[in-house]
Symmetry: C2
Subunit: 293 residues, 2 copies
């Protein structure tokens, strides 16, 4: 993916997020500002870009995909806010700035996360006129399943419980498949569903996205060891501080890099012969795997 | 409402909640158990019963209403778990038992709340075969709007910010209309929508439910002063401890009771001549207003 192409998609997402952000109520201003602060603090917009690119690749229209993409970014942002809380990973920094609870206090941060999740489903439900109600319901199902106990929330619970314990590699892969994998798969599948993908295409996109999510996570683990706090925008080495089980911890840094390369190849192979004009999806896989922050 | 009628509806809700509770993943068991603990700790099931009774009153079928009613109870339970957190109202007791974070720890409690909200939308999306996708989308919209920043989350933010301040009565009524009112209105409206209510019926049900919600809240405030910890199942007087602005604090106990009586009469009047066979809805209003715990 060329930098300008990616830059353009990020601008579209940012514009959508501004458009779909709820009108502020001065009486509850703190929670709106906490939501806004975390939404616009320089995220990569990886998940919503994946939704847009998947939809475009399969012939879907950008304006139909945008509200769903933005809803997914609302949800991703909620998950970061809650993950940073003192009772969870207790992170003071996020994207180079104070994390939400450091800036707005813990109660506003908990509520901002809750509010963003609710807002995501409100936004999806309002996209019904564009998508038709059957598609809208399918997308509600995809996303809600991906972020609940069988997905993101379950994965975060496992992550917290594994911290500080001897863990086998399989357990970590399973945890990641829930914690980050499911939402990334849902982001891609939602784009495919709203573009009217066939079952075969949906299967190829799901396989691709599952490996894409794993690649994204292995890269995160590697960056936590190799990156510096300045480039990462969060406290480098925080996995080590929390005694989190990561790829480098269980299989070593070199083997982590080998596995990353394998996983990316597998992600790309899932698309071969099944998804036409897949260049941008291939580029996105490289971007996820070899990004510097 | 006769006790046996109410008892029967509670049993139906409890059975539904068990049926719709997700299959437990042993690897993330803590969050499932935290969700289950809070869901089955003796709640009144007021909101889901309201959904069922509204649907029945308007000729809807119980089996169509049940998943939506249970989704609303998932959401109500999530809100109690998060409201009790140390950073929020810091309550150690809920329904006579340790609150979720006291029993399972703060991280599991935050995740249990998050998981219940996600599960609610998953459950609604899965009810599509019963309701048809248009109705399902309408209900997602009703509920997500009611619980976001323009509803429950915004109301909780205002409640926290008003604590310890001199507050006028209007501000408290506004806070309650968001914090408890909107979800109660959505519970009634969802029942009406899935029963195929006319616009006139939907308007009457909305007016009724808004006052019902206010009555419910005034009664809560009165019970916080008059009730004892044993009957209430939560720490009595906790509003006073938190310096929360309540009806008794701003207008006194007697005037609170007068207003409660007025609000209940208004709720009942909204149904007159507009909703046929409204006896159970009238009884539910009395129940909300004059319950002892």
């Amino acid at each position: 993916m060329t930098a300008s192409y990616l830059h353009n998609h990020r601008l579209i997402i940012d514009q959508g997020l501004r458009e779909f952000f709820p009108t502020k109520d001065p009486k509850a201003i703190n929670v709106y500002e906490a939501m806004e602060y975390s939404l616009f603090s320089g995220g990569k917009r990886f998940r919503p870009i994946l939704t847009l690119i998947t939809a475009e690749t399969l012939g879907g229209k950008m304006d139909r995909a945008l509200p769903i993409a933005c809803a997914i970014e609302f949800i991703h942002t909620y998950s970061l806010i809650h993950d940073d809380l003192p009772a969870m990973d207790d992170d003071d920094l996020r994207r180079g700035k104070p994390s939400c609870h450091k800036k707005f206090g813990e109660s506003a941060a908990i509520l901002a996360g809750d509010g963003l999740m609710a807002e995501a489903f409100s936004l999806i439900s309002r996209s019904e006129t564009e998508l038709g109600p059957e598609v809208t319901v399918l997308i509600v199902k995809e996303i809600s399943d991906a972020i609940g106990v069988r997905g993101m929330v379950g994965g975060q619970m496992i992550d917290i419980e594994l911290a500080g314990r001897e863990t086998d590699h399989e357990a970590i892969i399973y945890m990641h498949s829930l914690k980050t994998g499911k939402l990334i798969v849902a982001a891609a599948r939602s784009g495919a569903i709203l573009a009217g993908a066939s079952n075969g295409e949906l299967k190829a996109i799901s396989d691709y996205a599952a490996d894409l999510g794993l690649a994204f996570q292995i890269r995160d683990d590697i960056l936590d060891v190799e990156g510096n706090t300045d480039e990462m925008g969060k406290t480098s080495g925080s996995d080590i501080r929390l005694k989190k089980s990561t790829f480098p911890v269980t299989v070593g840094l070199d083997e982590s890099k080998n596995q990353l390369s394998e996983v990316v190849s597998r992600a790309k192979a899932s698309l071969e012969g099944k998804i036409e004009d897949n260049a941008r999806l291939l580029e996105l896989a490289d971007l996820a795997a070899y990004r510097r922050s």
